[in-house]
Structures are given as C-alpha cells and as structure tokens.
Amino acid sequence: MVYVAVDYVDHGLPVWSLEALLGALRLSAIAGKDVAAVVVSPGPGPGPDELGALSASLSAYGIKSANLVAAEGYAPMVVEPLVDRLATVVRGLPPGAWVVPGTVDWRTAAARLAVRLDLSLAGEVVEFAHPGEGAGDLGPGIEVVRPVYGGNLMSREWIRIPCIVSVRAKAFTGEPEKKASTSPGSVAVQVASGPASVRGAGPEQAAPPRVLEVEQERQDFPPLEDAAVIVSGGRGLGGPAGFELLAELARAMGGSMGASRAAVDAGWAPYERQVGQSGRSVSPRLYLALGISGAAQHLAGMRGARAVVAVNRNPEAPFFARCTYGVVADWREFTEAMLAELAAPHSAG
C-alpha cells in the first residue's frame, strides 16, 4: 500500500501537501497500488461543511480513501505532537510506503517516525523508479532517486518496506493526470478517532520546542523558495551599490533577489539571500545570474531552475556551459538595457 500524509491548514491543502500527493501518485503508478491519504490538521480540523471540498480535492488527485487526523498541539515548527499522533496511525495500518511533504517540519517528523517505528527512511526524494537492475532478490521495497553531491550525481536506491520518504520541495509539481474513471467527490473522508498517541521509547521524552517569536522578513521580495523568477548577483557586481540596481531589475521582472556566496561573504547581501551549497536551494521558472562565475557550489543551489540566464564579462565563466541563455556583457550595461527593454511597450505573443 502507498500512503501519503498531508497537512490541512487554512481550510485547504497547502502546496507542499499537493507536491506530496503528486509524489505518492507517481509511486502508486509504478507500484500498481492505490494511494490512501492521511490528512492531518492541527486542532479540531475542517468542519462538516468543509469535508465535501476536501473530498473533492483529494479525488481530483485520484486518492481512493482518506483518513482525517486531528493533532492537537501540532503547529509550524512544533512537530512532536504530530509525530506522537501519526505514530499511532501508522502502527494501526497495514505496512506500506509512506510519502510525506518536503518541508523541514515534515522531514523532521519523518525522521522521528522512522526511528520510533523502525521504518526505512529516505529524504529529498525527487523521483520513484521502476524496479530495475540490481534489485532482484532484495525483497519488498521501493526504488527512490535522490540527489547527492550537491545534485551533481543522482543515487537510485532500493529501500525496504515499511518505509517513510519525504519528497524534495518542488520535485513533484503540476496538475494531477486526469483519470476518466474517477468520479469527482467520491472519496469518503473518515475522521479517525482511537488511541491518542504513541510516545517515544527513549529514556527521556522530548518536549516540543516553544515558539517565542516569529519575525517575517521585510517583504521587499517573495521568499526565494517560492519565487518564479530570481535575479541573483555575485562578486562581479563590485559592491553593495550593485545590489540596488539588481533589486530594480528583480522588481521589474516580478521576481525575487538572490546572491552568490562571494557576495554574501563580502557583506553586500544578507545570508538569507544566498543561493547555493551553503545557502538556499531554489527551483524557479527563470534564474538570472549576473556577475556570478558559476562555481559548482553555486550551481548546487539552483539546479532545479527551468531556464537559466548567465550574464558575465568573462566568456570563459563556467556558468556559460550550464545555462540556457548566455550573455557576455558588462552586467551594469546589460541590466540598464534590460530595464529599458522591459519598460518599453511590447506586443504580446
């Protein structure tokens, strides 16, 4: 059996939940098994009037059965109550492969569940594979593909069932495939009751952390992880003033702003903006890199970008071998030309 665990927050399924659903569907298509969903809501969960809408959205994803589980005390960054509650649920169901979202909180929950229930564990899964060469006699399991070495290699692995895997954010996106046989709104969402929680077996029981304060960043730009367009600058920008011009281009393109490690280490941009190995991993539709040479450490953070524009004065910059469009130019002249071009009226199409 394939199981998927998702969040129900603010009266709906958030994007990370939809990505987990798509991942589970992919696995179910390969394994030839149905997907059962476990929908977790902090607190009491959706009212009776919301169940219809939830059932319809799950059905659109080809989900055949769903359980609704309320996890009291579960909140962003406080996953221990979720783990306690879900441990009971997992234990009460026949063994299978569990797919969970790729957020930091779910990754934490997956790790805790795997240890507590002795499940196989894999994180950052980007694809499920048909059983292939080498997996002959290993027994009941699934095949997962994960990036290793900064995404420069992919590792195809067999892991034994029962298992729990968290998908990588943005790895499974798009719309569910339409299935003619699926009638809309046909999923019966069962509200789970039963024993509350399986607590940890450790000598001491972990208390959940207390959230004292949450500070939203200044909303100059959307969060890098969610941005469809990212304009990033590197050492070639020459100083903090360069980032002001870069910000103008980011705004003109309706995107967010990023920076290379060199620019962050030089103090020209805050760490929160760093894209790469020791910063953030991003998967925008469009990534513009200005004055960034394209070291492997930077490429590791933006490998998921659909299209990449590299702008550099040095025609030998490694980025030119790893981009979709290459522009050999002075970044400032090019940026000013871009601002003029974007401001000019154009005919769509």
């Binding site: 930091v104 934490t108 790790a111 067999w158 298992c163 949450v214 790893r322 290459g326």
Partner: protein, 256 residues
C-alpha cells in the same frame, strides 16, 4: 555541562566523476564536513562564554582514518574526542536510521551530554535528515536550521531561519541542534592548538560495542548523472541588442 559535536568526514568534492556507476573518489582528500565546522566553532564559543564548567567533545563514526577530522576539531579548541570505528557507516548503503542509532549510542556512552550540535547536512549525502533522527534516538528535543543560539540551562534558545523570516524557539535541555552557516565564522586552528591536537590520544570504540548491527534495508543500485542542460544560446551584439533578444526569447518561451 557537556556539549557533543558530531562530525562527519567527507570526500572534498561535490563533483566526483562516475566510474562504473559509482563516484570515483580515489585520490580525493577527505575533510571535515564543512557544515559541521560551524557546530565545532559554536561549541568552542559557548565554552569561551560560559567558562571551564563546559566540556566539549567531538565525536565521529566512520573509517579509522576519520580520526583526522577529530584532530582538526581538537586543533580549533575542542577539549576531547571519541572515534567510533564503523567503516560500514561510510558506505553509500548506510541506513540513516542505523547511523542515527549508532551516533545516539555514542552520545549516551559519553554520559552526561546535554547538548548535541551538528551541521545541517553533509557535503556528500545532503538529505539533512540525520540530525532529527538522532534526536529521536535520544528522546531529546530538536531544532533545525539554527542561525543563532543562546544557552541558558536548563533551556537553550535558538533562532531558526525560515524561508521568509526567522523564529525564536526555546527547548529544554538535553537537545540536538542542527546549525547553519549563518551562525558563525569558523576560526582557523591556531598553531598551538595544532601541536596539541597532534599529540592527543583519541580513544576508539568498535561500533558493535555500543550498537548492534542493522538489518539491510537500503541498497544503492547505481549513481547516474542528472539530465544535462542543452547547450546555451549565446546572445550577441551590444547590451541593448542582447537585452532585446533575451526579453523576446523569454516572452516567447513564457518564462517572463
């Protein structure tokens, strides 16, 4: 107050060549996982702040030559080191849950540890899932993505970096914290530290002495290269011509 820093020794590359479906690591030097150096530095800074009542211990589990990673931590200023001889943990087939049980057992063996610090991920594997698993093995609290920490027993307060901001969390000790680059800038080991580290006696423990062997439940079938991007389209001309061509291309491809 004992602070344990968990270290992993990794090959110093993120671009290994493939040979027969495996990364070719021959001749690649091995280093302390760069993400773990932030944990080493933070432990030393805590000790500098709180004084000699704090004892810092670096622990690694891996091939016997992983000792070199521990000497680097000692050179930076860590007090003690413990090496778990567990070559099987260095294989790509390592089961994460088993690795967590082994490292959790090492922390327990040390007795009296109240804080475990580690890097958020490793240079080679990078799934970032191990620290939380270790916390569960120990039954301790866990905070990931830590960019700042303030230890005031019986609690530790940590700033967790979020995609769109930050949050201040507090958890009771003992706890496991996974730190990010933003937390500090690791020092260069002083010459005196290096001399001391070279002479240090590092105790070794066999893995089987602290943790029973694992069932085989993970097997790497093969490594392959990710799909490559097609060759780039190079835009020629003046900056104005390049900008015009790019905007036209992006609009055509519905990328803008």
């Amino acid at each position: 107050m004992k602070i344990v820093v968990l270290l992993k020794q990794v090959p110093d590359t993120i671009e290994p060549r493939l040979r027969e479906g495996r990364p070719d690591l021959s001749g690649v030097p091995r280093i302390v996982n760069p993400f773990d150096l932030y944990a080493v530095e933070e432990a030393i800074r805590i000790k500098e702040r709180l004084g000699p009542a704090v004892e810092t211990v670096a622990v690694t589990a891996g091939r016997p030559d992983a000792e070199a990673a521990l000497r680097e931590a000692l050179a930076m200023g860590i007090d003690q080191a413990l090496c778990i001889d567990a070559g099987e943990l260095d294989e790509p087939d390592t089961d994460v849950v088993f690795a967590a049980r082994a490292l959790g057992a090492a922390v327990r063996w040390l007795d009296g540890a109240e804080l475990v610090l580690c890097g958020q991920k490793s240079l080679d594997q990078q799934s970032g899932i191990l620290p939380a698993a270790i916390a569960e093995v120990l039954g301790w609290g866990f905070i990931p993505d830590v960019g700042k920490l303030d230890l005031s027993p019986p609690n530790v307060r940590a700033t967790r970096l979020l995609p769109n901001g930050r949050a201040v969390l507090e958890t009771s000790l003992p706890a496991v914290l996974a730190v990010l680059k933003a937390i500090n800038e690791p020092r260069i080991a002083p010459l005196r530290g290096m001399m001391k580290a070279r002479r240090a006696q590092i105790p070794h423990l066999g893995l089987s002495e602290i943790c029973p062997g694992p069932p085989r439940r993970r097997t790497v079938l093969e490594f392959h290269a990710p799909p490559a991007r097609p060759a780039a389209m190079i835009l020629e001309g003046t900056a104005e011509q390049q900008a015009r061509a790019l905007v036209a291309e992006l609009r055509k491809g519905r990328l803008l």
